[in-house]
Every structure is written in structure tokens, then in C-alpha cells.
């Protein structure tokens, strides 16, 4: 049986609206107009223990709503959801004792308390046995290099330092399932790398199931074998990132540095993107002509200094995908 089972999950919000201006405000006193917004409409997927899944989509797509329902914070309007056999919002207390959650934009530590006291408080909240707690804490402190931060109040930490502490805090009770909602948002490059490496290890070495939402496609590239793309409250794609790329944007780029001035390239399978001095950038579809074939034909016809193939940027792939599905933020 899968660890996470989601079937036809829907969530609608009701939003009060009013006309602009003073008259609108007065009218609103007597007659409220409500608009319903479908945050999720019929989302279904399954996950097994030990998977690491990236949940991506534009702002307002329903990623966070999905995470909030799965973690027991929100109740869906309809649909079924089971995590380890529990329905999160019905058996909230038992459910949340077994999961870890990090919201990158919020903090679960206490601003005024030194980090270590926050950890101790979490030990009590999750009722972790003291010896077990000491072992887990020391391990996390070593892994995330928190030794020097432990006695500082949370408010004095930098964002990167805080995020390392937040992740450690979410793991003190040794959950087998963690939700990371934009854990790398606003972090500098070294902090992002540290977070990525740690999450990857947690998944590989401990078999912890991870659901990760992010707008940083490098997080996805580095970590997720499986990607679920959400847009407009629906699942648009569910599979490996390579498959997603192949389906959306197969095009690749070939950069050729010629020995002399760049010649005219006139091949039916190829489109010239740029030609500047000795360099030419060509776009081609590997399904029509393979990279070795193309290179062989160019090298046979012209003297060449250097040549390399690039895949389109992952951001481009995703932006194209959102466009194709009309999933951009409205």
C-alpha cells in the first residue's frame, strides 16, 4: 500500500468581494458578494515510502494548499487523502506527531528563545524520550553544523542559519515523512547547496519520504527523481523530469566555433539562432537529427575549433510548460 494516497482532492475558498470606492464599501455592509475560488480541483496521486517528489507550479497553483491538506492544517472540500492509513485532518494529532514540516517563509522556532531552548521545547511537544532526543539532536547539530548557533536567539540568525535550524527542528522527532515548502527561498548559493545536500542524504540514507515544493528548478534537478507539476488546481504532469523535458521542449542547442568566419549553415533540420563572428548557435530537435550526426555533417563541411551541445535551461522548459497549459498566474 502506498504511504500517501490522494484521490480527487478539491478545495474551494470563499472570498468576499466589494466594489471599489466608498460606495462599494457601504454596499458591502448590507450585501456581501462572495466569489468562490477553486484552489484544488480533483488532484490525485500516490507516493511510496522513501520517494522524493518535487511539487512545482506557478504561484497560486495549489502547491501549498496540497501540502497544507496533506499535513493536516486544512480540510479539503471533497476528496480522499490518507497518509500511513490516517486521514490528516480527522486524525490530526496522531498524524502530525509522525511528520515533519518546514515552511520556508515562516518560522517554527521561537524568536526570543535561543535555538537550543526551542529544540528542548520541541522535544517536550513531540514527547521524544530524553536519551533518544539527545542522540538525534547531536547528530543533526553535527550534520547541519549548528554548534555555534545553538545559544543564539533565533531573531539574531541570518536566513541561511535559521533555515538550517528550522530543518533540524522539523526532524528532532525523527519523522519518516517530511514536507518542505520552499525551503531554499531567499537563501544564498552555499546555503542552498547545504540544504539540498542534507535533504538528499536524508532521503537516500534514512529512507525518509520527502515532498518538496520550490520555484528553484535547480533544487528539483538536484533532488527529485519524480516531479509533479500543478497548475490551476490540477495535476498537469507527473513523472521524471527527463520525460517532462522531452515532452515539452525537446530542442537542444549546438554551439560551434569555426576556424574562420562562421559560414552559412543550410540544413533543413536546423535553425540558426545566432551568428556572431566565428561562432554560430544552432537549434535542433534530437528526434529529427541526433547530435553526433549533426556534428559529423558540420565538421565534414567546415574546419571547426570547438563545439558543444547545451540543453535548454530548466527554467525555460518549465516556463514553456506553464504556457502550454495556460497555467501561468492569472
Amino acid at each position: 500500500m502506498p504511504q500517501i494516497l490522494v484521490e480527487e482532492l478539491s478545495k474551494t475558498y470563499r472570498i468576499a468581494e466589494r466594489d471599489p470606492g466608498a460606495m462599494g464599501a457601504v454596499k458591502g455592509l448590507f450585501h456581501r458578494r462572495w466569489r468562490t475560488v477553486e484552489a484544488l480541483s480533483g488532484v490525485s496521486f500516490q507516493m511510496d515510502q522513501g520517494e522524493l517528489v518535487g511539487l512545482i507550479g506557478p504561484n497560486g497553483a495549489g502547491k501549498s494548499t496540497t501540502i497544507k491538506i496533506l499535513s493536516g492544517i486544512l480540510e479539503p472540500t471533497s476528496g480522499r487523502c490518507e497518509v500511513d492509513g490516517l486521514t490528516p485532518w480527522r486524525e490530526r494529532i496522531r498524524h502530525v506527531a509522525r511528520i515533519g514540516v518546514v515552511f520556508g517563509q515562516r518560522t517554527q522556532l521561537w524568536w526570543d528563545l535561543p535555538v537550543i531552548e526551542g529544540f528542548d521545547l520541541l522535544r517536550d511537544i513531540y514527547r521524544v524520550p530524553p536519551d533518544r532526543y539527545a542522540a538525534t539532536r547531536d547528530e543533526l547539530v553535527a550534520l547541519m553544523r549548528l554548534e555555534k548557533l545553538l545559544n543564539q536567539p533565533v531573531r539574531q540568525l541570518s536566513l541561511g542559519q535559521r533555515m538550517r535550524c528550522e530543518i533540524a527542528a522539523a526532524l528532532l522527532h525523527e519523522p519518516q515523512l517530511i514536507f518542505l515548502d520552499e525551503p531554499t527561498i531567499g537563501l544564498d548559493a552555499p546555503s542552498k547547496l547545504a540544504v539540498r545536500e542534507f535533504v538528499g542524504r536524508l532521503n537516500r540514507e534514512r529512507g525518509v519520504t520527502v515532498i518538496l515544493t520550490t520555484h528553484d528548478m535547480h533544487d528539483i534537478e538536484a533532488l527529485a527523481e519524480r516531479v509533479i507539476v500543478i497548475g490551476g488546481g490540477r495535476i498537469l504532469a507527473d513523472g521524471s523530469f527527463a520525460a517532462l523535458r522531452a515532452g515539452v521542449l525537446a530542442e537542444r542547442r549546438l554551439f560551434v566555433d569555426f576556424a574562420g568566419n562562421a559560414p552559412e549553415i543550410d540544413l533543413p533540420e536546423v535553425r540558426v539562432v545566432a551568428r556572431d563572428g566565428r561562432q554560430t548557435e544552432l537549434a535542433f530537435d534530437p528526434r529529427r537529427i541526433t547530435a553526433p550526426d549533426l556534428i559529423a555533417r558540420i565538421v565534414a563541411a567546415h574546419p571547426v575549433d570547438d563545439i558543444h551541445v547545451e540543453e535548454p535551461l530548466i527554467e525555460e522548459v518549465i516556463a514553456r510548460f506553464y504556457d502550454l497549459h495556460g497555467a501561468g498566474e492569472s
Binding site: 475558498y13 492544517i73 506527531a97 517563509q105 511537544i125 514527547r127
Partner: protein
């Protein structure tokens, strides 16, 4: 799960909040000085009132003075506002994390409210008793000070009633917290609550001074248990069975408010739409 383990989160948040709030020494001293000032003013007003010939006053001047000092000592128990941390959490959306704790949110917030109010009251009450019960008699103003309860019985009943007062205060704070959760703002709950609590508790004027036809209703409503009931028991204005009945009423209200409050908080939490992020 053993009882010990079951209670651990609640005891922990209580003591954490208590210790944190105890650190605000400057606030305690400032509060003490303000409350001395207001105590003196109120007593001067009572003195003027009684000097004007108050033969039919419902309590003696000495008792009114006692009532005043007790009110100043325990002022911080009055639930004028929702828990400020809860208001912050609702505003920032961090309240979502509260739902991720494997604890009953009502009991969890109740424990924090208790820690909060006790830590604010403890230092001020100690200072106030030192001032009104020790210092004033020493400088010859004993008539205007806070005497001990007239009997051991009154003292014991007051202790019991004081426990009811503390529990009631937290239960009302939780109601205000729930209003904040339900309305997503702390702008409405605070000012309205302060006005109601000050009047209905007997803080502005002891309930004994209200008209005869109104008094039974005032004594029966829950907020009387915050001020009027415990203080009247202290100086013996309520004694014996009527004191026992009043204490039972206090605890009865605690149970009712907690049961209703817990259901209401649960419903509000389920409706809460944690936006963004």
C-alpha cells in the same frame, strides 16, 4: 501514553511562558507603580464618598479599601486582550504551525495563557502586598492598607476562589483568542473585552454598589468570578454557604467556558484559511 508524557507539552509551554514573562522586570515595576497610583486615587474617592455620609453603603470603607488593593494587586489577571502571541501568529500565518503540533490546540493555548497571566501577576502582587500590607501599616497608615483576611476560613475560601479566578481568566483569554482566529484580527476583541470585563467584573465599582434588582444577575455572570467573588470572600462579605456557592459558580463557569471555547476554537481553526506561502 503515560499521564506524564501526555502532559509534557502543556507543562513545558506553561513553564516556558512563565519564565519568559518573568524576565520583564521593568514592566513589573512600572505596572506596580501605576497600580499604586490608581489604588491611592480610588481610595481617595471612596474616602470622599464615605465622608459625605454613606450610612447605607453596602460595604464598609475598610472593606472598600481592601477590595481596591486586591484589585490593584491582581489587575493583570483581567483578560483585557487576547494572547498577543496568538494575535501575532494569526496575523503572520504562523498559526499554521500550531496545527502541526501533536497537541490539543485549546489545552495548549490555555497552558500558555496561564503561564502568561501568572508570570505577569506574580511580581506585581508580591510588590503590592509588600506595599499595602507591610509598608503602609509601618508608616502609620494601616487604616488605608490591606489587612489579612479576618479568619482562617475566609483565607482558605479565598485561596480556592483565587484558583477559580486564575482558571476563569485563562478561559476568557481563550475566548478572545478564538475571536481573533475567527475574525483574523485582534482589533475588535481587545477594546470591547476591556470595557465589558472592567464593568462586569466589579473592577470599576464593586458589584455590591449596583442596584438591588441588577445585582443577582451581575453576580451570576461569569466575569464576576474575576474580581467581585474572590475579593468579597477575602474580607468576609461572602462567607459560609454563600461563599461556597459562589466558588462553585466560578468553577462551573470555567467548565462551561472551556467546553464551549474548545468546540468553537476547533470550528474556527477548521475554517481558518491560512493564506499564501
Amino acid at each position: 501514553m503515560t499521564l506524564d508524557a501526555a502532559l509534557r507539552p502543556y507543562l513545558s509551554v506553561f513553564s516556558g511562558r512563565f519564565q519568559l514573562m518573568l524576565q520583564y522586570r521593568a514592566a513589573a515595576v512600572a505596572g506596580f507603580i501605576t497600580q499604586c497610583w490608581f489604588g491611592v486615587i480610588r481610595i481617595l474617592i471612596f474616602a470622599a464618598f464615605y465622608a459625605g455620609g454613606a450610612a447605607h453603603a453596602p460595604m464598609s470603607l475598610a472593606n472598600a479599601v481592601t477590595y481596591t488593593w486586591l484589585g490593584q494587586a491582581f489587575l493583570a489577571f483581567l483578560p483585557w486582550n487576547p494572547d498577543p502571541d496568538v494575535a501575532d501568529m494569526v496575523r503572520s500565518g504562523a498559526v499554521a504551525y500550531e496545527r502541526l503540533r501533536p497537541v490539543d490546540t485549546y489545552a495548549w493555548w490555555y497552558a500558555r495563557a496561564l503561564g502568561w497571566s501568572l508570570a505577569r501577576v506574580a511580581p506585581r502582587a508580591v510588590l503590592m502586598v509588600a506595599f499595602a500590607s507591610v509598608l503602609l501599616p509601618l508608616i502609620g497608615l494601616g487604616k488605608w492598607g490591606l489587612p489579612p483576611p479576618p479568619s482562617l476560613d475566609a483565607g482558605g475560601l479565598f485561596a480556592l476562589s483565587a484558583v477559580g479566578m486564575v482558571l476563569l481568566s485563562a478561559a476568557i483569554t481563550l475566548m478572545l483568542n478564538t475571536v481573533v482566529v475567527a475574525t483574523m484580527t485582534d482589533k475588535g476583541a481587545g477594546p470591547l473585552a476591556a470595557a465589558l470585563v472592567n464593568t462586569l467584573s466589579g473592577m470599576v465599582l464593586p458589584l455590591a454598589f449596583f442596584p438591588d434588582w441588577l445585582r443577582p444577575w451581575l453576580r451570576a455572570q461569569p466575569i464576576a468570578g474575576l474580581v467581585d467573588i474572590p475579593f468579597s470572600i477575602y474580607f468576609g462579605g461572602l462567607a459560609g454557604w454563600s461563599a461556597a456557592g459562589a466558588i462553585a459558580l466560578q468553577f462551573g463557569w470555567v467548565v462551561i467556558l472551556a467546553l464551549v471555547g474548545r468546540v468553537w476554537l476547533g470550528r474556527s481553526m477548521r475554517r481558518l484559511q491560512v493564506q499564501g506561502g
